[in-house]
């Protein structure tokens, strides 16, 4: 039974992961101990929220207010990698 959430980090956020090579996957596993939203995870990683562009929770384009749980996959992109027509990606909220 996993108790962790895996956060995939891109661009300049990679430096927060043990492997920060741009040609590999950069991620950190975070303990999930209680109810928490994506915003909380971003804060825990020390990333200013205004520097975040695209957020994907289990592959769904998501608002930072969505709740996370152990076993989830979260992907976080910095502002300077933003490249989606928002019309195609409606933001999922809880």
């Amino acid at each position: 039974m996993t108790h962790t959430l895996r956060v995939y980090l891109y661009g300049k956020f990679r430096s927060l992961a043990p492997v920060s090579d741009a040609t590999a996957e950069s991620y950190v596993d975070l303990e999930v101990t209680g109810p928490e939203d994506i915003r909380g995870v971003i804060r825990r990683l020390g990333i200013p929220e205004e520097e975040v562009s695209h957020i994907f929770l289990n592959g769904q384009y998501s608002a930072a207010t969505r709740k996370v749980k152990a076993g989830d996959r979260l992907g976080i992109f910095p502002k300077d990698m933003a490249l989606l027509y928002r019309q195609y990606f409606p933001v999922e909220e809880d």
Binding site: Y8, Y10, G11, A22, T23, A24, E25, S53, H54, F56, N58, G59, Y61, G75, F77, K79, D80, M81, A82, L83, L84, Y85, Q87, Y88, F89, P90
Partner: protein, 586 residues
């Protein structure tokens, strides 16, 4: 400005005045209007009755930012529909400055000779291609530069076009004389080949300017648009820093990166072929490689790149998202040097990279190579240029190859392969693929998404507004293609109203019109409607506006979803009364 008519049967050329009905058109609206007016929708695309039209955009050739696009139009041999495909590079701006609003190439020669259309300030003439016929694009461009001088504009086809293969594109040369800027989609290179036209060579021996009716207004608009492009995150950061391939990681995270012939939505090797990997490797290798490279002079977005070999020498330009994905993830290939080589072969042979990558993936599914076997993929793709029977099958594209080898997982709409967004994961783009006038195409603009419309008159209260927004997006796309701007300006102008106004003002400045932002929607829809009418006359019905059947029953991991958008929704996209119905219901 003039129209240049070229008759390949009689080998004659002639400049004619612009008919009034075309005076305010350029780019896509002009190519499509001429095709609608002059081409029998039921004609064979490779026969004498099809025409091939080249048109710079309305503001192309001016100093408006990111506006150097060339539209190419005709009836597509790949899809059987009307087709407009556009490209950057240097020739479009040169044609516009030489006063050429469009080139209409018609009929075909009685012999099998290839010809070159040479255009300069003194006029135009058709010359025998001689020893330039049959050449791959890299050698061709190099020979043309040697003979006609540095900075010559080149619009040409490779061996694939000369063989009239359905996946043949039309190359425009970039600022370094590479052939990588393609009007690739829809097989228009085969139409050019069927007319015996190897190339159009543009020599700007006399500096002229595109006439601008209202310079003050044009400058005002240009500044507003430039400000929008240089301040918006997408057009000033992501595209410039990482190129379009920044989308590899994004779409992979979204579970919508088609992998191994559309059998999965995530690729385990995505990071290795990502925009970040391109950026980092390019920096490390040094040499001629670069990112933030403009595809034409005056582009402020600069999303192109030059990929260098490990020793720093030139390999290919550009590696774009669609090519990177098609020749990479979709074939299970995670090596950028292999992708670069496949891209190089496409550029040299004269093939669209999206169609070529989807074709290779289908071939892999058929057992001609293992997914991920880059060397075998290179061998297969080289067959096309050799004109072997296998090469001709592959050169005719994804659907042709799927039929030849009995593959049912064939990701095409109206015969054209899908680009790099999985419709089972991103339903909105599936609607676009199904309903564009061009076959599966990602550049057509957002249409009405399934979450907006419900079936059977049950209309969401917000439908009117959303349907209008969606339609405005599509219409704006057509307008951008008509103005000659790069489609990527859409990111900035849809978010920044002053940028949108600026775009319209540049067009008004050139034409002397008083169009408003509302006119953009009206005109865009008008032009779109004409394209649709051509397709209807060619025999297309709403039954053709469908995605391939396998997507309805094969679940796509990781979301494990199928394509479940009802046909009624797809049919509603072109129901131009949908807003009225919503109003009546509401």
């Amino acid at each position: 400005m003039k129209l240049l008519r070229v008759c390949m049967k009689h080998r004659s050329v002639g400049f004619v005045d612009i008919p009034e009905k075309y005076r305010l058109l350029g780019g896509r609206a002009l190519t499509s209007s001429i095709i609608c007016d002059e081409v029998d929708p039921k004609c064979h695309p490779l026969g004498p009755n099809n025409k091939l039209v080249f048109a710079p955009g309305l503001v192309t050739g001016t100093v408006a930012p990111s506006s150097g696009r060339l539209s190419v139009g005709g009836k597509s041999p790949l899809t059987g529909t009307i087709k407009e495909s556009n490209a950057g590079g240097i020739p479009a701006q040169m044609l516009a400055r030489l006063g050429i609003k469009a080139i209409i190439v018609e009929d075909q020669p009685d012999d099998d000779e290839m010809y070159i259309l040479k255009i300069d300030a003194s006029g135009a003439e058709l010359l025998p291609a001689g020893d330039l016929a049959g050449k791959g694009m890299y050698e061709f461009n190099s020979l043309v530069r040697d003979r006609y001088g540095k900075g010559t504009g080149i619009i040409a086809i490779g061996p694939a076009g000369e063989m009239k293969l359905l996946n043949a594109g039309i190359s425009c040369n970039d600022m370094e004389n590479g052939p990588g800027r393609y009007a690739g989609r829809g097989g228009l290179g085969a139409v050019m080949g069927s007319k015996g036209l190897k190339a159009i060579i543009v020599i700007e021996d006399e500096k002229r300017r595109v006439p601008i009716a209202n310079k003050e207004l044009f400058d005002k608009g240009r500044k507003k648009l430039t400000d929008a492009l240089t301040s918006h995150d997408v057009t000033s950061n992501a595209l410039t820093n990482y190129g379009t391939a920044v989308l590899i990681n994004i779409m992979n995270e979204a579970g919508g990166l088609p992998t191994r012939n559309f059998s999965a939505g995530r690729f385990e090797g995505a990071a290795k072929i990502s925009g970040e990997a391109i950026n980092e490797t390019t920096g490390k290798r040094g040499g001629v490689g670069k990112t933030g490279h403009p595809c034409h002079p005056g582009c402020v977005i600069r999303c192109s790149n030059v990929w260098a070999k490990p020793d720093g020498s030139y390999h290919v330009a550009p590696i774009e998202y669609e090519s990177d994905w098609a020749l990479g993830a979709n074939c299970g290939i995670d090596d950028l040097d292999v992708i670069a080589e496949l891209n190089y072969i496409c550029n040299d042979t004269g093939l669209d990279t999206i169609e070529a990558g989807c074709t290779l993936a289908v071939a892999m599914e058929a057992g001609l190579a293992e997914f991920g076997d880059g060397q075998k993929a290179i061998e297969l793709l080289r067959e096309v240029g050799k004109g072997t029977p296998l090469g001709r099958i592959l050169g005719n594209g994804t659907e042709f190859t799927a039929k030849a080898f009995g593959v049912t997982r064939c990701p095409t709409v109206k015969g054209q392969s899908m680009p790099a967004y999985e419709p089972r994961a991103v339903k909105g783009i599936g609607v676009t693929y199904a309903t564009t006038t061009m076959g599966a195409d990602h550049t057509a603009g957002y249409t009405i998404a399934p979450e907006i419309l419900k079936v059977g008159g049950d209309v969401d209260p917000a439908t009117t507004e959303k349907a209008e927004l969606a339609r405005a997006f599509q219409a704006t796309t057509v307008f951008i293609d008509t103005a000659g701007y790069c489609l990527f300006i859409a990111f900035a102008i849809l978010d920044i109203p002053e940028g949108f106004e600026g775009m319209v003002e540049t067009v008004n400045g050139v034409l002397g019109t008083n169009w408003t932002t509302d006119d953009v929607t009206r005109l865009g829809l008008e032009w779109l409607k004409r394209e649709r009418e051509f397709n209807e006359a060619a025999g297309f019905t709403k039954a053709d506006d469908r995605l391939p059947e396998f997507m309805r029953y094969e679940e796509l991991p990781p979301h494990n979803t199928v394509w479940d958008v009802p046909d009624e929704i797809l049919d509603a996209v072109h129901d131009y009364e949908v807003e009225d119905k919503a109003e009546r219901a509401g």
